[in-house]
């Protein structure tokens, strides 16, 4: 008994490679409207068969795979059923039939068939990858990770497994684990340029700029026109505070044709970070034309509208993000902020409170709710909300400023002074806090201090170039843009 993988002849390798490229396609998938993810079929011929059997089996499996590729699902199904009647535990046939079932929308049956394939041959990587895709499709990330980890363990050089696993881990916020997967893969294979970009992104998330930079540079060494790598370098520059370099890199990226909505999105985020709000806005609108149903795009778009500023458009973008992802606490928070800025307090409160139901860890949400309470004359409630924000982020200057403002309204001047002074110590550029200090000192009849604080407000306004127009749009600090 030998593993087929060891005996497949050179001419069969090409067939196997062709089979590796088999994907489920949404247009052939009966539930195509619901599912987008495709399953990769990797045929690593294996099983307890003799050479003679292999001689007959491999062409039949290739034929079945070809039928699937050509969308002749019914014929493929008949062929595979015939194979399995003869060899009921043939893992490749089970795996292929699982793919057929998946294409037919029979996901439970597909899962069973992939599992049977694995039971027939525990070293068979293909069904693990297919299961991983199936679990992704059905929203089971933990199971997906387990399958991909197993695939990578079985075949450390499997580029697809590494790529998928790393992306999933990073998306799940498991940054260290994601980095480990790619770094381990580095031992056994030459990383592709996209994987190097992914590694760079992971290092950047960890705040390791030199490592990120190295990865992006290596990616560019392989593929000099890789927009994502250039954008990665721009992000590293922004991280290091080298705004000018970032702009040069952004300009380089701009010249590269990007038809990928994800790259456009990334470009927009970098542009947003560089303060190029108009450009970010235009790029996001272009990305949304290509991919109109990604809530992240609308979140980013909303932030560019806030910056322009056009709060009504921002509100529209965040509402769209919420349509696409109704329970997103982030979108709820952004929308709440936008409504707050438009003085639509009851609705702002509604969305901010919804956001808190799902995610109680964001200090900004409490801060904005505090602002709403303050605007609705619920100063005691505002105090509690600002305190909650401070509890989560003790050096959150705006929350201290909000708390100080509430104490000012409550005529508790000593506490107001304490909080406002702490706020400007934490963030000397907060003109609103300086303004409230000016009001406080004016009430305490300390005209000199009041004037000093007003001068700071004026200086900050001048430093920021003053408002571009007469409208006084922003009264609360806006939420951090997506990264």
């Amino acid at each position: 008994m030998v593993k087929t993988v060891n005996i497949v002849e050179p001419n069969s390798t090409a067939s196997a490679r062709r089979l590796e490229r088999l994907w489920w396609r949404p247009d052939t998938f009966p539930l195509g409207r619901l599912a987008i993810v495709v399953v990769l079929l990797i045929i690593l011929a294996c099983g307890s068969v003799t050479f003679a059997q292999v001689d007959k089996l491999v062409p039949r499996l290739e034929h079945a795979a070809g039928l699937i590729a050509e969308k002749h699902i019914d014929e493929a199904e008949k062929e595979l059923a015939a194979i399995l009647r003869a060899t009921p535990n043939e893992p490749t046939a089970l795996n292929l039939l699982g793919a057929v079932r998946a294409q037919q929308g029979k996901l439970n049956e597909a899962e069973l068939l992939f599992s049977r394939a694995i039971r027939s041959d525990s070293r068979f990587v293909g069904p693990h990858l297919n299961l991983a895709h199936l679990y992704t499709l059905t929203g089971r990330p933990k199971k997906t990770i387990l399958e991909l980890q197993e695939a990578q363990r079985l075949d450390p050089g499997n580029v697809e497994a590494v790529d998928l696993l790393a992306r999933l881990l990073l998306a799940q916020g498991q940054i260290d684990e994601g980095i480990n997967v790619i770094e381990q893969a580095k031992q056994s294979q030459t990383l592709s340029a996209p994987l190097l970009v992914l590694l760079g992104d992971a290092y950047l998330k960890k705040g390791n700029a030199p490592k990120a930079e190295e990865s992006y540079e290596r990616a560019l060494g392989q593929q000099s026109e890789l927009t994502d790598a250039v954008l990665g370098l721009a992000q590293v520059s922004q991280f290091k505070g080298a705004a000018d370099t970032a702009l040069v890199q952004l300009s380089r990226a701009r010249k590269m044709v990007a038809n990928s909505p994800d790259t456009l999105y990334r470009f927009a985020l970098v542009a947003l970070g560089a303060g190029l709000f108009e450009e970010a806005n235009g790029t996001l609108l272009a990305a949304i034309k290509l991919k109109p149903d990604d809530p992240a795009y609308f979140l980013a778009l909303g932030t560019t509208w806030i910056k322009k500023p056009d709060l009504a458009e921002a509100e529209h973008a965040f509402r769209r993000a919420l349509e696409l992802q109704p329970e997103s606490p982030r979108a709820q928070m952004y929308l709440g902020y936008t409504l707050l800025e438009q003085k639509k307090y009851p609705e702002a409160r509604e969305y901010l409170e919804k956001s808190l139901l799902t995610d109680k860890s964001v200090p900004e949400t409490y801060y904005y709710l505090g602002q709403v309470a303050q605007e609705e004359n619920e100063d005691e409630r505002a105090v509690q909300l600002f305190k909650k924000a401070i509890e989560l982020a003790p050096s959150y200057s705006f929350a201290h400023a909000g708390l100080g403002a509430s104490y000012l309204r409550l005529k508790n001047y000593p506490l107001a002074q304490q909080e406002l002074e702490l706020s400007v110590k934490l963030n000397p550029n907060d003109s609103k806090a300086h303004y409230n200090l000016a009001v406080l000192f004016a009430r305490l009849r300390n005209q000199q201090r009041a004037q000093e604080e007003l001068q700071i407000v004026d200086k900050l306004k001048t430093r920021n170039g003053g408002p571009a127009k007469e409208g006084d749009v922003s009264s609360s600090p806006e939420p951090r843009p997506p990264k």
Partner: protein, 572 residues
């Protein structure tokens, strides 16, 4: 105390008869419409536009619009309701632009005085009255400054202001030089009030920026199209305070009073008493600068306290583009609250008095409703006579190119009416008449009962367009009493008097403020709404002098004259 009530106007019978006939004729149609508009529970009060063909007011404002976009072109103009001939009917005065260093009109441009013919029509009597102006006019303030019983006119201008003294015979004389009230430069709003409680009306005049044609900044977009610059480009000027010497002259006390210590870019101004100390204070809106709250310290001194009061800046500490203002005790807590309208995206502010010289901005529904509007003329008044002060806003953007730069903002904007429900302000514009669907380049706005039917009508001065006269239809379904207060020991206009009244469970009080709105002057009579109460228990007037007159069971649904002091009354 004997108070004679003089029934000034009794034309109601004919009006009621006519309304009844119309209702009978179109009863079904009206019912259906009313039900659609407001439901069956509450009759709707509307404002209906009185067209020039009906009113005879054919005058049109000329804003001197030029390619250079001189700033004075876009901020005018004002209007007034006044009874210049003491016939008991409100006449109308309209201010126009005129010759200036940057504008040489090809044909004569003049202000207009329209005499009320008592039948809903007006006659232009400008030439006979001699009040055509002659400089680039801005606003107007009407009051009997010399206590001779005839209403005088003060017209603010870019250039030199004009004080027209009413000769009592349908004509006026320009006494500007003699009175010393010319205040050269660029003046906007003017307010008659008695800051030192000496019984004579003094005069506050808002100053806008230092400006002449050589200082004009040309602002243009990337296509080199000029637009009106933000006033930030110009330097602020101190406003004026003139003390009435009582001998037909005034003394400029701007410096010694402290008013001149605060140069501003001032527009709307209202005299009110924010700390209930019996001395009239001033709330003044500034454009691109913090607003002013001049607290009257007594002894002829004012202290600017807007910062401490929390009304100088936006909540985030940014000076805004304040334009129109007004003051009223909208929640009946006995303390004057303030309102200021700003430019689009700055939101308008309703400042609730905290009773300790501090205010909190509580705009409620007004906030989001004014997000994209720019407000000028505005007034707290009880349009439906239910006893609560409602709020009427006149809007319009100063930049005629704004729509090319911001699709959400219009140059001509809609009017707004907010009804005071007793719990807050409710936007009732959509159900208050088709005029609220129209767009105006609104600036000045005055209130007055021009048809003497017991509810307040509205006059709007539009920039570069004809004015709009709006008749209040249905405000008098609720009962009311109209009072004309004549101060004797106190100033003739009774500015600063506090009127209190009770009708059953409805108990209200109102401070007689002066100024307010923008470039405008209002019907000086006070209409006190009493809702559905069939009688009014008492009206009490506490005059600025401290004297109190109490009227028991005064007649309702008519105007009466109340003269300060026991037994003092002047039948007309």
């Amino acid at each position: 105390m004997m108070i004679l009530m003089e029934h000034l106007v009794v034309c109601l019978r004919l009006t009621i008869a006519l309304s009844l006939a119309l209702t009978l004729a179109f009863g079904l149609c009206l019912t259906t419409r009313a039900q659609r508009a407001a439901g069956p529970t509450k009759p709707v009060v509307t404002f209906e536009e009185v067209l020039p063909s009906q009113s005879g007011i054919t005058w049109v404002h000329n804003n001197a619009h030029s390619p250079e976009r001189h700033l004075p072109e876009t901020v005018g103009a004002g209007c007034a309701f006044l009874d210049y001939d003491n016939d008991g009917w409100m006449d109308i005065y309209l201010v126009n632009s005129g010759p200036a260093d940057f504008f040489k009109p090809a044909t004569q441009i003049r202000n207009a005085l329209y005499h009320n013919n008592h039948d809903g029509t007006f006659t232009d009597v400008t030439d006979k009255a001699g009040v055509a102006g002659g400089t680039f006019g801005m606003g107007v303030a009407a009051a009997d400054y010399d206590g001779d019983g005839w209403i005088d006119l003060y017209v603010t201008c870019y250039g030199r202001n004009i004080l027209y003294h009413n000769n009592g015979n349908g004509t006026f004389s320009d006494l500007t030089d003699r009175t010393g009230t010319g205040a050269p430069g660029w003046s906007t709003c003017a307010v008659w009030f008695d800051y030192d409680n000496d019984g004579k009306l003094d005069l506050f005049v808002s100053s806008f920026v230092y400006y002449d044609k050589t200082l004009n900044v040309l602002c243009s977009d990337e296509l080199k199209r000029s637009y009106y610059c933000i006033p930030r480009h110009y330097k602020p000027r101190p406003s004026h305070l003139f003390h009435n010497n009582g001998d037909g002259t005034f003394a400029d006390v701007s410096k010694q009073s402290g008013i001149a210590d605060s140069p501003g870019k001032s527009f709307g101004a209202v005299a009110t008493d924010v700390n209930n100390d019996g001395r009239m204070d001033l709330f003044v809106a500034n454009d691109t600068m913090p607003n002013f709250l001049f607290i009257n310290q007594g002894g002829g001194k004012f202290e600017e306290s807007a910062l401490a009061a929390g009304i100088g800046y936006s909540a985030s500490g940014k000076p805004r583009s304040g334009m129109g203002v007004d003051a009223a005790d909208y929640d009946g807590d006995g303390w004057q609250d303030l309102f200021v309208a700003n430019i689009e995206q700055e939101f308008f502010s309703l400042y609730h008095n905290q009773k300790d010289l501090t205010f909190i901005d509580e705009p409620g529904e007004i906030g989001p409703a004014t997000q994209f509007l720019s407000g000028w003329g505005l007034r707290f008044f009880d349009y439906d006579n239910d006893g609560n002060s409602d709020l009427f806003l006149v809007n319009g953007h100063p930049d005629d190119f704004i729509e090319m730069r911001n699709a959400r903002v219009k140059y001509r904007e809609q009017l707004q009416l907010f009804r005071n429900t007793g719990k807050g302000f409710e936007n009732v514009s959509p159900q208050s008449g088709v005029v609220f669907n129209k767009y105006f380049s609104g600036r000045g706005m005055a209130t007055g009962d021009f048809d003497n039917d017991g509810d307040l009508d509205v006059l709007i001065a539009n920039n570069g367009e004809a004015p709009a006269l709006l008749r209040n239809e249905g405000g008098n379904r609720n009962n009311w009493i109209g009072l004309q207060l004549i101060g004797k020991q106190s100033n003739p206009a009774a500015v600063g008097a506090v009127i209190s009244w009770q009708a059953g469970t409805l108990k209200r009080s109102r401070l007689k403020t002066s100024g307010g709105s923008y470039l405008a002057s209002h019907d000086p009579r006070e209409i006190l709404g009493i809702g559905s109460a069939a009688k009014i228990d008492y009206v009490e007037v506490r005059w600025p002098s401290g004297k109190i007159d109490r009227l028991t069971n005064p007649p309702i649904n008519r105007y009466s004259k109340v003269v300060e002091g026991a037994g003092l009354n002047m039948p007309r």
